[in-house]
């Protein structure tokens, strides 16, 4: 061709006519995917893009003086083309043997680059694809029958990237499921050799469109909170037929015929419970009819206690949903309603415009597949903690606690009847993800509101100058989960409380007395004489402005910005441990 734009012209032209851009996205690759910008622009209307010449991604990410660093991306979409990455092995596999090792090594090299970049630009998010190599290569049937199996490059590369991301706690890296998307549409439908030979462009237009979607969907998942609650209808939703009319023997639910679609759907719902989504019921029925199904139908996958709240009556659905939200203390904007009846969905939506109530499939055979689509649209996330997985049980216990509170004569009585046990672990590496999550999410009972990621917490745990105290609260209804965190830094005979927070779930139960009481005693044992605490006011933490006073600390300084510094001499002033909480220390 006669004309070749300089690369900075290209950048300028890309961004022309787009004012008021709020996010910056860099697209990096080892091949030419310049046509993706047009597609991305349609999906991300207010983004500014940067796209360096192809195959410069490593230099751009490693060199702090690169245009990429100047651009300061909020996010990097990094597309790695499997063929380009491994072409010499794919084209003559007979010179090599251990393709798994080659794939792993390449992944490690890439992760070094990513980690290095993350250290320099900790606020950027990188989205990387799972790679694909051409499904046909010269090894043909020797693949998997012998060691000459270049396909292992793809497997081992993807596997190693994933493992390193998890091991090294690189929370700023998200993997998008490109390989699975390619499997869904077929490699030959989107990879096109003609463009490859003309301009090192591996994908055709449909392929670029799909790649843009893959990146954007992952990007948006990172920016949005997943929904938390599923509200389920029963008749023609959890089973086929109407229990009040057909009776327990006639509803469709089982291993044969269409009844299996409902059973499979129930299995997926149970999986969502295991992931930490709360299941609830809002159904117009007689509760006795429904109880009979749960008690006696042998093919029910979901059990009565898998649902944290059940509203089975003849009230309007919107009424019931409102009380579910109140009982769970969760916003209706975190609800997804699954109901086969369009009139009910309309009634709910007109009461709560922000609620999600997707159209229900006509044919129950596609119910499981349809539901996976719903999960993809509303429940996608790239993070899950052990705590999330227990959430359903925690909420179920919480509803029982509320009942006890109503019947106990006094609050003191309620606290005693709860039989609370505070389980404290020290420098507990297993809890790192949850602890990071707590610092990110806790606003009310949070004295300093310092936000940490997993890497930060890991550093504290490994550093002798810090101690990380973890609190799990158990009572007679079960665990409340990991609900408290104290991070202390040590300096000879002095200790400084860097972070002190408690989950809003247990605010008011006065567990902080026991938690801090334990920490002070533990520090004393370690030879500490003075402990300093700090309250930094924010819009949301007024609740704890006098917590240190209540715990027996002495105010020593109030700064101009309203933050306060406290001190306690651990020899004299420690309050006795409260009687309503038992404290247990567990070693990991």
């Amino acid at each position: 061709m006669r004309k070749e734009l300089l690369f900075y012209d290209r950048v300028r032209l890309f961004n022309r006519n787009f004012g008021g851009l709020s996010m910056k996205i860099a697209v990096l690759s080892n091949v030419n995917i310049d046509g993706i910008i047009n597609k991305l622009r349609k999906l991300l209307k207010d983004a500014e893009f940067y796209l360096p010449p192809f195959n410069t991604y490593a230099i751009e990410m490693l060199n702090k003086n690169s245009e990429l660093y100047d651009f300061k991306p909020d996010s990097i979409f990094l597309y790695l083309d499997g063929y380009s990455l491994f072409d010499k092995y794919i084209n003559d596999p007979f010179l090599y043997k251990d393709f798994s090792r080659i794939g792993s090594m390449e992944a490690r090299k890439l992760m070094d680059i990513i980690e290095n970049f993350m250290e320099n630009m900790p606020n950027s998010v990188i989205i990387l694809n799972t790679i694909v190599i051409p499904p046909k290569n010269v090894s043909t049937l020797l693949e998997f029958n012998t060691n000459y199996t270049p396909t292992l490059l793809e497997y081992s590369f993807n596997e190693r990237i994933s493992k390193l991301k998890i091991e090294k706690r690189i929370s700023g890296l998200a993997i998008c499921p490109w390989r699975n998307m390619v499997l869904t549409v077929g490699y030959d439908n989107i990879y096109d050799r003609r463009y490859w030979y003309l301009g090192r462009v591996p994908l055709n237009m449909s392929g670029l469109e799909m790649l843009a979607k893959c990146f954007v969907k992952t990007y948006e998942t990172l920016k949005t909170k997943p929904k938390k609650v599923i509200v389920l209808d029963l008749d023609n939703t959890l089973w086929g037929g109407i229990i009040g009319e057909d009776g327990i023997d006639e509803i469709k639910l089982g291993e044969d015929g269409i009844g299996k679609a409902y059973r499979d759907f129930q299995k997926l719902l149970l999986a969502m419970k295991h992931r930490g989504v709360l299941l609830t019921i809002a159904s117009k029925n007689n509760e006795n009819d429904v109880k009979e199904v749960f008690d006696k139908h042998p093919m029910m996958v979901l059990k009565w206690n898998d649902f944290v709240v059940k509203k089975i009556n003849w009230l309007q659905k919107s009424e019931n949903i409102k009380s579910i939200a109140e009982e769970l203390n969760l916003g209706i904007d975190s609800f997804v309603v699954i109901d086969d009846n369009p009139f009910e969905r309309m009634e709910i939506k007109s009461a709560f415009p922000s609620i999600i109530a997707p159209e229900f499939p006509e044919d129950p055979a596609i119910l499981p597949e349809w539901f996976i689509g719903v999960v993809e649209d509303y429940f996608s996330t790239t993070i899950i903690t052990e705590e999330d997985k227990k959430r359903s049980d925690i909420y179920l216990a919480e509803t029982k606690r509320k009942t006890l509170l109503k019947t106990a004569q006094s609050f003191e009585n309620f606290l005693k009847q709860l039989e609370m046990v505070a389980i404290i672990t020290i420098n507990d590496e297993l809890m790192i993800p949850r602890q990071a999550q707590l610092t990110q999410r806790t606003n009310q009972f949070n004295l300093t509101t310092r936000r940490y990621n997993e890497k930060d917490i890991e550093r504290f745990i490994k550093d002798d100058k810090y101690i990380v105290y973890n609190l799990e609260l158990i009572d007679k209804f079960g665990s409340n989960g990991i609900v408290g965190l104290i991070i202390v830094s040590l300096d000879d005979k002095k200790a400084f409380i860097d972070t002190f927070l408690m989950s809003c779930r247990i605010i008011g139960r006065r567990v902080e007395d026991a938690f801090m009481g334990f920490v002070l005693r533990d520090l004393k044992k370690k030879g500490i004489k003075k402990v300093f605490g700090e309250y930094i006011p924010t819009k949301k933490n007024k609740l704890v402005s006098d917590v240190y006073e209540k715990l027996g600390f002495e105010l020593i300084e109030t700064k101009e910005d309203g933050s306060k510094l406290y001190k306690i001499e651990v020899d004299e002033n420690i309050k006795p441990m409260p009687e309503w909480v038992k404290v247990e220390v567990r070693k990991r």
Partner: protein
């Protein structure tokens, strides 16, 4: 007078290069549109292929560097 160019072709050129073409009789080519360089050529032909559901032989792709040439080729293949 020049030939009138098919509306769809114009629309695709506009979308690909993020430009506005006011007159479907004017000269529309890599010489008159700044963004239409060698990579732009590939992006444009990709979009044309997708819309008209054709596959051009590889050696033709770089040669179709004006709206008129693209139109001629599509006519030859019976697509418009």
């Amino acid at each position: 007078m020049k030939r009138k160019i098919n509306d769809k072709i114009i629309k695709i050129i506009e979308d690909t290069f993020n430009v506005k073409i006011n007159d479907s009789y004017e000269e529309i080519s890599s010489d008159t549109i700044e963004e239409w360089d060698s990579l732009g050529q590939i992006n444009l032909i990709m979009a044309i292929e997708k819309y008209f559901d054709v596959k051009f032989p590889t050696e033709l792709i770089p040669l179709m560097d004006s709206a008129e040439k693209i139109q001629e080729q599509l006519e030859k293949m019976g697509k418009i």
